[in-house]
């Protein structure tokens, strides 16, 4: 039997993925689920049911949200976006978004099956997101924190000039205010439509981290499902602490490419968080329901 291999090629191309959670309908349903009050739960329409891709457990979006988008049956961590993470981490879900006006530009006039500028316009018309990363400042149990979080929904969370610039400005902001910095990664890799500019963001963000390090401010890298390519080959792996959610797929080369290279099936659990922890690349794995408390503990340990 041939092995089922996940790839993010379609998402990186700015299209719908093959699996439920890489389709834009998934993110739309999450948003509807968020807006659905508990009192309306019984009337939940057909489309607001969610199925766990791992154990097939079916529940309503509202129930799933109450469990922070972790499957109540087997603990599978569903893929969520910046909005959901900010809600989970920041006190009372209160935060201020920073640098929200920066958006992508088709500087190269890149055209694959569709012009890049057209692709961007299409996405902007369908979602409130301006790009694949949002930066926010807020408090975690009363402690200041700047978080830059990726949105996989936007061209597979791909790394382009906008992510690089937001990242750099977030670091500058942290240095000015003496705040710690956290990045939540969820990305298929580079924004190919920005060609070498996208590659140079690896260097740009590393330069920023060098300044943050000189300022002796903590940088926490939270890796979530999935994190690949340029992210893991730069700031994703450069945390003072590198941490991950359980079961997240994390690596440099994508599973499809590796499988094609070695012409063998990949071992079970390959490139999952637990595999990375075992090989010494993570400080710890933290389940989403414990994320806020653990983060709060770590921040206070850095500070006191």
């Amino acid at each position: 039997m041939s092995q089922k291999i996940e790839d993010f090629d379609a998402n990186l191309a700015g299209e719908e993925g093959k699996t439920e959670e890489t389709k834009s309908s998934w993110f739309k349903r999450i948003k509807k689920g968020i807006n659905t009050k508990t009192s309306e739960k019984k009337e939940t329409p057909e489309g607001l049911w969610a199925k766990c891709p791992q154990c097939n457990y079916i529940c309503t979006m509202t129930e799933l949200r109450e469990h922070l988008f972790v499957c109540p049956k087997d603990g599978y961590h569903h893929r969520i976006g910046s909005e959901e993470y900010y809600d989970i981490i920041f006190d009372d879900g209160q935060y201020a978004e920073l640098f929200g006006d920066i958006r992508s530009k088709d500087f190269l006039g890149f055209t694959d099956l569709k012009p890049y500028h057209k692709r961007l316009e299409d996405i902007w018309s369908k979602t409130d997101l301006k790009d694949s990363m949002r930066v926010a400042v807020g408090k975690v149990n009363g402690q200041d924190l700047v978080i830059a979080c990726m949105d996989f929904e936007f061209i597979g969370g791909s790394l382009g000039s906008v992510m690089g610039e937001k990242f750099a400005r977030a670091v500058t902001y942290c240095i000015e205010h003496r705040f710690p910095y956290m990045v939540i990664s969820k990305s298929g890799g580079a924004r190919m439509m920005e060609s070498a500019f996208s590659l140079m963001q690896l260097a740009k963000t590393s330069g920023s981290l060098s300044l943050l390090s000189d300022a002796k401010l903590p940088y926490i890298s939270l890796l979530t499902d999935p994190t690949f390519g340029g992210i893991s080959a730069s700031f994703g792996m450069l945390g003072d602490l590198n941490i991950a959610e359980p079961g997240a797929l994390i690596g440099f080369a994508g599973p499809r490419v590796i499988k094609e290279t070695i012409k063998k099936d990949l071992p079970a659990g390959f490139q999952r968080s637990e595999f990375l922890l075992e090989h010494g690349f993570l400080d710890f794995i933290v389940p989403r329901p414990e994320l806020k408390e653990k983060l709060s503990t770590v921040l206070s340990l850095f500070k006191n």
């Binding site: 006006d101 190919m192 920005e194 500019f197 690896l202 792996m237 690596g251 090989h279 690349f281």
Partner: protein, 325 residues
Amino acid sequence: MPSNANRQFLDFEKPIKDLIEEIEITKARQDKHHLDLGEQINILEQKILDKRTELTSQLSSWQRVQLSRHPDRPYTMKYIQKMTTQFVELFGDRNVKDDKAMVGGFANLDGETVMIIGQQKGINTKMRQLRNFGMANPEGYRKALRLMKLAEKFNKPIITLIDTPGAFPGLEAEERGQGEAIARNIYEMMRLTVPVICVIIGEGASGGALGIGVGDRVFMMENSWYTVISPENCSTILWRSWAQKEIAAEQLKLTGDKMLGFGLIDGIIPEPAGGAHWDYDESARILKEHLVPVIRQLREIPAQERITQRIEKFSKMGFWDEVPA
């Protein structure tokens, strides 16, 4: 350098191949019949030179990619051998093993000790396997970093020669942290207190290239390419087929002239007419001629200022709009 009889030709080099064959026939005729066909041979040789110049003046992006992968193209070790003296190769990452796809060591360049590091491709089938086609594993990047730190300790400038189709996408590479190894290199290179000059001598593919590619000056040789993904892989993902690689190469704007125009590199290093594979001595001479004054120039800048400039240079790279909501 291969003799004319052993040369390999790309499809668009066919006209040159024909002229070389004509010379060989003429020479054979000269020897056999004891004739003096020197003038005829000279004319043919001039024609070859003209053809070489003509070819490289009108290459498509894809043809440029093909030239960067030319089987006769000089690789890192060839440049080290031709540009420097007293080269002492240093092996190993002091941790896992020695990665044959990444080479390096101290050498004397124009009277000064430098550290030269680069990916190395194999020159024949057996060596290509051994060198893993220039695709380094994490230990290769860690070996490179070890050598860079060694150079830093003794205040020696660093030159990296980049030539890779990418970091190796393998099982063990992932186990040993390919992403972390490249990330660490990029980060540490940004902070090195010695001058760092990087040259793309062939293929500059993605993180695998940038893993030894953060420098005060970054140059591309005339027939090299540098971007975030190979045209073939880009075509596979964005066009859903391998077949659009030529269009992908065009769209990626991966050639030196484009990269220089974008401000992503600092200069283009010319090659002999027709490409570096026509004349190794001349290629190395031109490269050396470019490197020596740049090292001297960078030496003049105080270390901390050089680091600040390096960080600022890369932080300017990018384009975006700011649209108030």
